[in-house]
């Protein structure tokens, strides 16, 4: 059994526990430990990606119980990709926070590590109830992070966010227990086998359970009727936290992709029902409304939050169509859009800082870095709107190409391109107000810039460029990922076929021989 699979969960857990103590003692080692742990996590994630690249699905039986009974972790190509993205985004957010944001409140570093633990666990687990537990871990950490350096606006957003997510958790439990009542299992691979065998009398219940699950994940992923919390929350969070939250919507998208491929599309199950038709339409509507929201935004960070919703809409469209080609295009777009969203939140914070802490889209003089931030704004806009030559364009082009043969092709092409155009208009308008509109000079006292801020921005820009330069390799990887997901069998066979390790030392045998245990 490969013990590396548990490392992305255990490493941040121990680092987080240690950091609670270090931060309490105001130790100087706090930042070093946090950075070291996140760098180690990045290394582990890269190793796991290399292992997953071979195409084998690796399984780790937590507690050494055979799969349907115990909790299992599974590492396939999708999980490895998501864990690596989490590590990259976490590292960028942490480096940026070292510029001063981490000292605005207590326990930033510990909460960040717990958040990474929850994210990695959610991506790796192959058990539905364990997924719920890791969701709660990452949500609990996100509540703390959202409140970090609390302001009145942040408190208000937090009340909404926490209440909304607690309701979501209640629905999650209802869905999970319904599935357990129907099939007697919580293991995702086992569910994928047993759901298609449901009798006709239970198929509607199964259908309801799957839809409830998707509703819960749609709360996280920001699908149409459930995205209204996102702009307020993301705009209220402090910059590194908002940047880290760029991966949070992707958890919902990952979970929908997993449920959709395992339980709904490839299985030919009677539980499919409404989902395959409803998901693409809702995703398209999300995309259009998010683009309009971006156009109507009065603040830069609200605009960026709507761009995140728009990218979630694009991703859910790719997942909803459900063919290997659209899935591959969606995953390619996911890599790029996560990194760009992270870059955007950090850049928006720097621009606001340079204007004296204000990010309303009105003319105000930039005190610092007009050329640098302007160039980065242009770069990030091109990457986000999906204009050549950066990878966002390649992702959208792949999706358009893949969706071109589906029944709704006309709608998809028209709405996807229209929303790209509206996004571009919104970004161009914001950029011209921020950088070109003349404004009277004002004297502002502001904190001096830190190298950490620029390091995070530079690192993310290099990553976004790298996704463009190595687009061929990434495309090869995501195509193999999509094939592995739609084939289903490799995942199911690996999880259900994993054997527990024979104990090197049998305690019960020992006790029986000594006569402590009555036979």
């Amino acid at each position: 059994m490969n013990h590396w699979l548990i490392a992305p969960v255990v490493l941040p857990l121990f680092a987080g526990a240690l950091l609670v103590l270090l931060e309490k003692a105001r130790s100087r080692a706090t930042a070093g430990v946090s950075l070291g742990s996140t760098l180690a996590l990045l290394w582990v994630a890269a190793q796991l990606l290399l292992q997953a690249q071979t195409g084998d699905v690796q399984v780790y039986l937590v507690g050494n119980w055979q799969a349907p009974w115990g909790v299992a972790l599974a590492l396939d190509r999708l999980a490895a990709l998501m864990v690596l993205l989490t590590a990259l985004v976490g590292l960028a957010a942490l480096v940026y926070a070292l510029g001063g944001d981490d000292r605005k409140g207590m326990h930033f570093h510990a909460l960040l590590q717990f958040q990474l633990m929850g994210l990695n666990g959610a991506f790796l687990t192959a058990d539905l109830f364990n997924l719920f537990v890791f969701f709660e871990v990452l949500l609990a950490a996100s509540y703390g992070l959202l409140l970090h350096g609390a302001s009145a606006e942040r408190l208000k957003a937090s009340v909404h966010y926490v209440a909304f997510n607690l309701t979501g958790s209640a629905l999650f439990l209802v869905a999970v227990s319904l599935l357990y009542a129907l099939t007697g299992t919580l293991n995702m691979a086992d569910l994928a086998v047993k759901l298609p065998q449901l009798g006709a009398e239970n198929s509607r219940l199964g259908h309801a359970a799957i839809l409830l699950l998707v509703v819960v994940f749609a709360v996280k992923a920001a699908l149409l009727p459930l995205y209204f919390w996102l702009p307020a929350t993301y705009a209220a969070a402090s910059a590194p936290v908002a940047a880290l939250f760029a991966i949070m919507t992707k958890v919902g998208i990952y979970a929908i992709a997993r449920v959709n491929t395992l339980f709904v599309t490839g299985s030919g199950a009677s539980v499919a029902g409404l989902l395959p038709t409803a998901l693409p339409w809702l995703a398209l509507a999300t995309l259009v409304l998010a683009a309009i929201g971006a156009l109507a935004a009065h603040r830069l960070r609200v605009l960026v939050a709507y761009l995140v919703v728009a990218s979630a809409g694009t991703l859910l469209l790719a997942i909803g169509l459900g063919t290997p080609a659209t899935l591959a295009a969606g995953l390619f777009y996911l890599v790029n859009s996560t990194l760009v969203a992270c870059l955007w939140f950090l850049l928006a914070d720097r621009i606001a800082w340079s204007r004296g802490g204000d990010d309303h889209l009105v003319a105000r003089r930039l005190q610092h870095g007009w050329g640098l931030f302007g160039a980065l704004f242009m770069f990030a806009s091109v990457a986000m709107a999906g204009v050549p030559p950066l990878a966002g364009f390649i992702g959208k082009a792949l999706l358009l190409q893949a969706a071109g043969s589906s029944a709704k092709a006309a709608w998809i092409v028209a709405l996807l391109l229209a929303s790209s155009l509206i996004t571009m208009v919104a970004l161009a308008r914001a950029g011209s107000v921020l950088f070109w509109k003349p404004a009277p000079p004002a004297v502002i006292h502001m904190a001096s810039p830190r190298p950490a801020h620029y390091a995070a921005l530079a690192g993310l820009s290099v990553l976004v460029l790298a996704t463009t330069v190595f687009a061929g390799q990434i495309q090869g990887y995501v195509q193999a990922t999509a094939q592995q997901m739609t084939a289903r069998q490799p995942y199911i066979r690996a999880v259900l076929g994993a054997h527990p390790v024979a104990p090197a030392y049998d305690v019960r045998l020992e006790m029986r021989e000594r006569g402590d245990l009555k036979p």
Binding site: V133, L155, K156, V159, A163, L166, V176, Y180, A181, L186
Partner: protein
């Protein structure tokens, strides 16, 4: 038994949702608590309703759902109770802080002139 349990779950969930939709943070917290009670009872009943049966394998008795209670939902409920309890405490903390800062327990932190 089945009818009684369903009525309980339904009533709790209904009251919970009604309170959740009110504009005061205190009502919202109470609503979420009731909703989590309803969900916990629901999980419990999903392991089939069984009176006076142990969730333990006994010697000489074939353990099926006819002779023993399903232990798994009981374990799940335990986890769910702990999590919902902790999360409610977090929400209460945030609501209290918001009340202290804005002087109102409206969920939007608004002043008293709104109902």
């Amino acid at each position: 038994m089945l009818l009684l349990l369903s009525l309980f779950v339904g009533t709790l969930a209904g009251c919970g949702v009604w309170l959740l939709l009110r504009a005061r943070t205190f009502d919202t917290v109470l609503g979420l608590t009731l909703l989590s009670y309803a969900v916990n009872l629901f999980i419990f009943s999903m392991g089939r309703i069984k009176v006076a049966a142990d969730p333990i394998v006994q010697k000489g008795v074939l353990s099926t759902l006819a002779t023993t209670a399903d232990p798994l939902p009981q374990a799940l409920v335990l986890t769910a109770i702990v999590i919902s309890f902790a999360m409610t405490a977090v929400l209460l903390g945030i609501a209290l802080r918001s009340y202290q800062q804005t002087g109102s327990d409206h969920v939007d932190g608004a002043r008293e002139d709104t109902p």
